[in-house]
Amino acid sequence: MSLSQEQVQKIAHLARLGVEAQALDTYARTLSDILDFVEQMDGVDTEGVEPMAHPLELSQRLRADVPTETDQRAHFQDIAPAVEDGLYLVPRVIE
């Protein structure tokens, strides 16, 4: 699997990564190498094998429906890049 620079750009956009034009070539090469490498998987017969998303075969534990958290807005917003009136600010969102 060989990725073109355009494909890399598309993936980078989907992942919201602003990649510099001069870096595209390196990414295209290394990503292609990695995809080539992982293609070894194709040789394995996985017919009927259940995918394994978790290392342990356990079920989800359930929490009691009780509010336990208190307001920590000031504490959390101390580290925020831009806030006003308790809101996080972002460049204008157009719907």
Binding site: R61, V66, R92
Partner: protein
């Protein structure tokens, strides 16, 4: 050319849990921005989700109510996309294995027909926060209080063929979630909202047309208007030789039109995959049975009971069970006038609903309680007042002038049932209208009504109408 509309709805019902679906933050509405967004809701580095048992219970409740299978194992998946109101860059939802499988609901149309609408699935997911577009120096403000509120997304089959059917279906689901007490149904606060998938196709064809998705409709009226507009728009395009573009659209209630959403322009690739922070949700049969045991009487069951026990028509029973509150109100009134459920039904659907609608009030804050209305109807039942006077009494009760007995007493509206007194008035009326008497006796039967009217007028409407009828018939013959 005849067109057929095809509609499917994705309803989002906020589950009325105390805390969020994956965190211990409160879900109470209306708090100051970001004061109910805890570390998990903010997606701080290193935080993890733990599932709320009550949200699961509520989803199961809904599934049982629509006759759907409950998945013994369901999986939470991540839906990946970037948006400022989505703190983690993904929404935890269910994709391949939802908790509630295929079910169905019946809707009644105004012509009395019933249609069955398929519910494809219902799944648990987390709500996003809110973007506030007021101007902050050209910036948008983000409030994450709502982020992580549990949602049940209820996906219908494309089974609806008109805006009316879509509205009837949405109302049915609305009633259902409120009966089940799993959602407060408050549409203004966004607790109950839907996305509508709309397409048109030529009548008689099987293949669906290209659909558009109208996002975030939070009233029945908007749903209806948005579909009407969208259907017209699509037909115009197709008849003009164009093609409908599959896209996400937004309804503007002020303009009454839908428009393409710029922010959703790009084709989304959500890259769903199982959330590795959450394990499979296994629901034991015992849990399901426990929930089944807690189910209240559902709208359709209630409707049939009203028809069987109270002898109501399907239409009346349908109207009265449209909301749990209305049904409960009716049942209280009906209990006060045993054997006269139809009287109770007429009053609840007539005077009461009319008055509520006039003032845009909910039945839960009606100035006339079910108990008070029952008291009024008892006075009709025991002949203290006539039905007509009762309307006057009702108005006074609505205006806060006291209960039925107080109003009747205070205004002297008690019905005249003394035969002698009524006869006296009849005699006077006959004496005062000789020419009408003659015409009546010469065969003009219609004038009977004139005499009733005159008697009622002279008694201030208080004479018992049945007695007036009987006595007049005797005297006039």
């Amino acid at each position: 050319m005849e067109w057929e509309t095809v509609i499917g709805l994705e309803i989002h019902a906020q589950l009325s849990t105390q805390s969020k679906i994956f965190s211990g933050a409160s879900t109470a509405y209306g708090a100051e921005p970001n004061t109910q967004a805890c570390a998990v809701d903010l997606g701080l580095p290193g935080v993890l989700p733990v599932l709320n048992r009550e949200a699961v219970r509520m989803a199961v409740k809904f599934g049982l109510a629509i006759g759907a299978p409950i998945a013994p194992r369901s999986i939470f998946a991540r839906k990946n996309y970037f948006y400022p109101d989505l703190p983690k860059g993904y929404q935890i939802s269910q994709y391949e294995l939802p908790v509630v499988g295929r079910g169905q609901v019946d809707i009644e149309l105004e012509d009395g027909q019933t249609r069955t609408i398929g519910v494809t699935r219902a799944h648990l997911e987390e709500d996003a926060g809110k973007s506030l577009h007021e101007d902050y120096h050209g910036m948008t403000g983000v409030d994450l209080n709502r982020a992580g509120t549990p949602l049940l997304e209820i996906v219908s089959e494309p089974d609806m063929r008109s805006a009316r059917e879509a509205v009837a279906y949405m109302k049915k689901i609305h009633a259902l979630v409120r009966y089940l007490e799993i959602c407060d149904g408050n549409m203004q606060e966004g607790s109950f909202r839907c996305d509508a998938n709309v397409s048109v196709r030529r009548k008689g064809t099987e293949k669906f047309g290209t659909r558009t998705e109208i996002k975030n409709l939070n009233s029945f009226r908007f749903l209806e208007r948005a579909i009407h507009f969208e259907v017209e728009r699509q037909i115009d395009i197709l008849e003009g030789g164009g093609a409908v573009v599959q896209e996400t659209r937004l309804f503007d209630p002020d303009k009454g039109e839908t428009r393409s959403m710029r922010s959703k322009e790009e084709a989304n690739d959500y890259r769903y995959f199982p959330d590795p922070d959450l394990l499979p949700l296994d629901i034991e049969p015992a849990f399901i049975e426990q929930v089944r045991g807690s189910l209240p009487e559902l709208p359709d069951e209630k409707k049939h009971r009203f028809m069987n026990d109270h002898g109501l028509s399907a239409y009346d029973a349908g109207v009265l069970t449209a909301s749990r509150e209305m049904a409960e109100y009716f049942e209280q009134v009906a209990a006060a006038v045993e054997g006269q459920a139809k009287l109770a039904a007429n009053w609840v659907m007539g005077e009461l609903t009319g008055a509520l609608n006039r003032e845009s009030r909910e039945i839960t804050d009606s100035p006339v309680s079910a108990e008070a209305l029952g008291g009024l109807l008892r006075r009709i039942q025991d002949n203290t007042i006539s039905g007509k006077i009762a309307k006057e009494v009702f108005e006074a009760m609505w205006a806060g002038e006291g209960d039925a007995d107080q109003v009747i007493e205070g205004k002297g509206l008690k019905q005249i049932t003394d035969t002698g007194a009524i006869e006296q008035v009849i005699d006077q009326v006959i004496a005062d209208n000789p020419s009408q008497l003659e015409q009546y006796r010469s065969g003009k039967d219609k004038l009977f009504g004139f005499f009733v009217g005159q008697v009622m007028k002279r008694t201030g409407g208080k004479a018992n109408p049945a007695q007036v009828n009987d006595l007049l018939k005797q005297k006039l013959s």
